[in-house]
Symmetry: C2
Subunit: 202 residues, 2 copies
DNA sequence: AACTAAACTGACCGTCCGGTCAGTTCTCCG
DNA sequence: CGGAGAACTGACCGGACGGTCAGTTTAGTT
């Protein structure tokens, strides 16, 4: 059993700092978060933060990766639950919009990950690319099933993700919340009638 | 005639600084551009920059607004050239992807404007919202024509913009350029079969 | 050439922030 | 209770950056 008492305490502290980091990112945006902000939010001194994390970047990276795990779990469940492609899409859309509504802090992180301008590099965050890869696999499976056009799967995944993301962002920007079902239906229709094969009557 | 010699020179200098700013933003991203970077790129001293602009933020705002004017001209032409909704969409998609391919510096600016996390605020840049407003008007006109579902027009405009933007981003991230026509066709199909009314055979 | 005003420069200032570490407080065991 | 080590603190350091301004160069006029 490697879980000694010290390790439990350490994990607890790390979690508290990650939680604080997520809340602050939600308020100030990824680029404008300072280590002092995170420490204040967690109710500890700045120096203490460096007992548990190597650097500012380390905090934010770990916060992202950790948060993404639960999110990925939900999306994977939505994808894997069977049914037609349209049903899977609706589940994915609903899962994401629900999750984003509930956890606006995480959504800000998600946005920061999708944003390629944070650093010098053009690549997005690894966790975001994993997300795209899962959507790509879902679309490829549907295509093998004859439910989807032969459009390039990765590009389709990218536009699906961007559609959901930007509607979630719009929901967040609006003061008066729109009914979730309305947006889910709209996005599902937009996506499916865009990439699902339409059954022509012969 | 208000255009004195001094004003011509001043305009020329301002333009040089804006051009420099755009190139630097393309390399380092909006948030990481310093005034020194811009001055170096323009081949002048930092102090000189402040003879023509009030502040760093002033430079970037003016650079954005100015750059958007030419872009808006092209998009407006694409929207206004008549034809079916699908044709108009194809023209808009092509105009944007072409423009972004040619002027990657501008595209980085465009991304920064679409990005809501730059400041504390959640609102996007005014020029970007204007862009969305024009797409919204186009979709509403098509709806009045019976060419488009009665989906909420602004949301449709948002997802159209996000679709084009993310494909442009993907093109930029790929080393080997894909044929423009291929991506134009893909995006046009994705958009139109998503929000255009499909003519059922009765 | 001499003079002047406008244009330009870059060293400098105040501020902010990531990261450090000497000193303080807490915890736990003998 | 006492002491040792772990946990924690926040003042401090160095570097970066936005913005300023006294001094220098340039351009135009007589």
């Amino acid at each position: 059993m490697p879980t000694t008492k010290e390790e439990v305490v350490e994990q607890f502290r790390c979690q508290a700092i990650r939680d604080a980091a997520m809340r602050v990112v939600a308020r100030k945006g990824y680029d404008h978060v300072t280590v002092q902000d995170i420490a204040d939010e967690a109710g500890i001194a700045k120096g203490t933060v460096y007992l548990y994390f190597k650097s500012r970047e380390d905090i934010l990276q770990k916060t992202m990766s950790f948060s993404f795990e639960e999110f990925h779990g939900r999306i994977a469940a939505a994808i894997g639950a069977g049914g037609t492609f349209a049903e899977a899409v609706e589940r994915v859309v609903r899962a994401q919009l629900e999750y984003f509504d509930e956890r606006q802090e995480f959504f800000r992180l998600y946005l920061a990950m999708a944003e390629p301008l944070g650093d010098r590099r053009l690549k997005k965050h690894a966790a975001y690319r994993t997300h795209i890869a899962r959507l790509t696999a879902m679309i490829e499976a549907a295509r093998a099933n004859g439910e989807v056009w032969d459009a390039p799967a990765e590009r389709a995944a990218i536009v699906v993700a961007s559609t959901i993301r930007d509607i979630a962002l719009q929901r967040l920007a609006e003061k008066a919340a729109r009914p979730l079902d309305e947006d889910v239906a709209f996005v599902r229709d937009y996506i499916c009638r865009g990439i699902a094969i339409h059954q022509e009557k012969s």
